[in-house]
Assembly symmetry: C2
Homo-oligomer: 215 residues x 2
């Protein structure tokens, strides 16, 4: 029922996910879906919550840095299992009471035990929430739907045609950047993962939080 929605989104993405097609896939009339969930957005929210349920870092919470590391990598693993829901994670996390409050509690508890206090604790919490989601969402953002080869060719053209006078640093690193780093990619993290950058990202955030703790 909601398994089917998840499966369909994994296959075709949110843009091409429709209630009617979902109904057909279940061998049922479109209106039947509305007995279970009141709206298309509710289906999407349910799918997100369903996937997020798997995030569960199992490291010792006493070592907050290791625990956060694990959280970041867990989240990335979940998104890599369902990359097409990536764009939803941002919006759906405004507030979803359906969210796993257990996970929220554990994040707060880990930071609390680490020594964060008062406003800094809450700021650190917001930072953890956003940074967990941030990089990975963008890493797995989808390229424009169906013109993929033309799009790739276009991007290659832009990179090859870079004006070295106007963009010297860009031009110097063009070979390393092409399809391998943000804004100059034509494939996403599904086919071209940004492992090295993600590793550095996790390091950066955790070291930054360590500084924040002793500010």
């Amino acid at each position: 029922v909601l398994e089917a929605a998840t499966a369909m989104i994994d296959e075709v993405g949110i843009e091409r996910f429709s209630v009617r097609a979902l109904a057909e896939r279940l061998g049922v009339f479109p209106a039947a879906i509305y007995w279970y969930l009141p709206t298309r957005n509710a289906i999407l929210a349910a799918v997100v919550n369903h996937c997020v349920r798997d995030i569960d870092p199992r490291t010792d919470p006493a070592d907050w840095k290791a625990w956060l590391r694990e959280l970041f990598y867990c989240y990335r693993a979940v998104v890599r299992r369902h990359p097409r829901i990536a764009p939803l994670m941002n919006s759906q996390l405004l507030s979803n009471a359906g969210a796993d409050l257990g996970l929220i509690e554990r994040i707060l508890a880990v930071l609390d035990r680490a020594g964060f206090e008062g406003e800094t604790l809450l700021a650190a919490y917001d930072i953890v929430i956003t940074t967990t989601v941030g990089f990975v969402t963008m890493e797995h953002a989808s390229p424009p739907a169906e013109n993929s080869e033309a799009w790739a060719e276009h991007m290659r053209g832009v990179i090859d045609g870079l004006d070295e006078a106007a963009y010297p640093t860009l031009a110097r690193h063009r070979a390393a950047l092409a399809n391998r780093h943000f804004v100059l990619r034509w494939e996403n993290g599904v086919t071209v993962p940004l492992e090295a950058s993600f590793e550095a990202y996790v390091y950066t955030v955790i070291e930054g939080l360590r500084q924040l703790l002793t500010r």
Copy 2:
């Protein structure tokens, strides 16, 4: 023409933005739009690029920490001017050759001059891109469209009804968290900005990058 699209999205959001309504607003037949831009997504991409053009940190690039700080705050100012495009920034930045290559060049140049080298330079670059966008996008994510008061009431209920045994840390900070921090908000950054957390976020990312530089 594209001003109108921007205006419309600012008013009603992407979800309720339609080519047909845009045409009507311009006193023209729907098909007329397609003379200028080939598709709805192309319109959205154009609007994003249009808004992003305003990001232009004017601090001395020699002080990379101050420059990045400025970049973060510039970006946030842009999103706060057009909060409803926030959800697009993530996906549209996979790669958009329409993106301001000048800004990309300057980010790379600033990091290069700061002393980042080779793979670390490119990782730092990816980190700057994602962190610039990450927090602010989530801060301004929209709540579920039109049930706002019911939704607020629901969230208040969840927070009031928190089981103190199961969620001790959450319960202890419930007053400070309610509508003021992620996952437990029912309004977004437009009405409830997360100033303090954003300030700490910027500090955290920059201090983290400083550590990365000397790793």
